[in-house]
Amino acid sequence: MEKTEILIIGGGPAGLEAAIHAAGLGAEVTLIERDPFLGGQLTKQTHMFFGSYEQFAGVRGVDIAEKLKKEIEENPKIKVLLNAAVAGIYPDGVVTVSQKNKFLKFKPNRIIVATGAYEKMLPFPNNDLPGICGAGGVQTLMNLYGVLPGQEIVMVGAGNIGLIVSYQLLQAGAKIKAILEASPNIGGYLVHAAKIRRMGVPILTSHSVKEAYGKDFVEGVVVHQLDEKWAPVPGTEERMSCDVLCLAVGLSPLSEILWQAGCEMKWIPELGGHVAVRDEDLLTTVSGLYIAGDVAGVEEASAAMVEGKLAGMAAAESLGYSVEGLLEKKDSARSELAELRAGHSGDKIRGGIDRVERLTRGKVTC
């Protein structure tokens, strides 16, 4: 049985910040990452981040990952386990981890779950043809492994992921035939949309995929228009050839481990699906179990980093660790979150969080 004070599950933006801030207060941290490297989604994000200076605005995600990784490597209080997947959290507080051919057991005092999210699928005929992939998967192939999955791409979804991955595909030399968006408006940041549009890529709002076609591989899609009630408009079908159909239709929190641990879960569509009920310290209903990042509700990576900061500090604090001005630091993280969620683009997120957060100290406003 291995001992650690705080076990963090997931080495993405939330997990990295949680580790840095928990160790910053003096706690012994073990960070578990399934991949052979730390950084999570940051490692493939080549675009500059939004937000403010505190959330590395203007810095590219991939460079943020390097910066945080370096801080972790230099901190003797943080132990990192790569290629390691958590298998379960048990009622006696034991966490089992499978690393390569080893099976490890941990007995941590606190757990922070920062497992992130997975890509949603879209149901339509022939959606199992090879060449139909998630946008995140395409981004991994392209930006981590240097493999361009196709030459002529149709993207489904004009949220930030669909827009950003389309842009990166253009940078890699692929042609984007069109970006289809079922909603009458573009969901992602309009500055992302504008920079793709001025490369000549049509963004077809109120359009969706009717079906894909192809013999052994996707050869194209039938696109149709949707009315204001999202019902297909008959007679608007159009064939569009492609060798990759890329789906960017949203993310869902990767929360299986929270169900298994017995956290009270709630269905909050605005946050991407089932999320754990938490307090203002991101503590769930299971004693000593915190959450941070997309698993707590799908948002931008900037918010994930701030949640990591907050959960890391809160978990260490609950073990008796402290630093000068800790309360202010936690409040300032909460204000950063409130700011990131303040604009029109944060309306849904705020609504979702209001329904899943059980405040114990009254509402924080910035």
Partner: protein, 160 residues
């Protein structure tokens, strides 16, 4: 409309386009940032304080056109690649546009390239005046192009 097509119509841009008089005076930044999102690097990038202070990080940027000298530092600093510099005093017939460009190969100085509008449609020819790609720009090169004056508010991209 920007919100459903990805390109802003000229009417949507009226808030951010400087007056004719100011444009005639020389280079000035135009922040085509029309949606409230949490983002403020333009404000910190400007050494002259020409981006007015943000009360809230979700505020839209406002350029103080009297303080702005069109240096272009903000062009590569904007995470949304939404800032352009336009100089209508460039010469008798042409305006200079500085635009962010993150594609390879980079255009070649002195060459003519197709000039694209906000829809990505070819609307004429631009002459590449300068290609700036310094370390500070952090892999967002800024391309200076000359276009006929009448195209200064239409051209926003190039194809090398």
């Amino acid at each position: 409309m920007l919100a459903n097509s990805g390109y802003a119509e000229i009417e949507e841009l009226s808030r951010v386009i400087p007056s004719k008089e100011r444009l005639a005076k020389g280079a000035v930044a135009i922040a085509e940032c029309l949606q409230s999102i949490p983002c403020n690097p333009c404000n910190s990038a400007c050494k002259r304080g020409a981006f007015l202070a943000f009360k809230d990080i979700n505020d839209l940027p406002t350029v103080d056109v009297e303080r702005c000298n069109g240096c272009g530092l903000c062009v590569s600093a904007c995470p949304g690649l939404a800032i352009f510099v336009v100089d209508e005093s460039f010469n008798e017939t042409e305006a200079l546009i500085k635009l962010p460009y993150e594609f390879l190969p980079l255009p070649i100085e002195g060459k003519d390239v197709p000039a694209l509008d906000r829809k990505g449609e070819i609307v004429g020819t631009a002459r590449v005046v300068k290609v700036q790609n310094t370390k500070t720009m952090d892999r967002t090169p800024v391309i200076w192009i000359a276009v006929p004056k009448a195209m200064s508010m239409i051209v926003r991209n190039i194809r090398p």
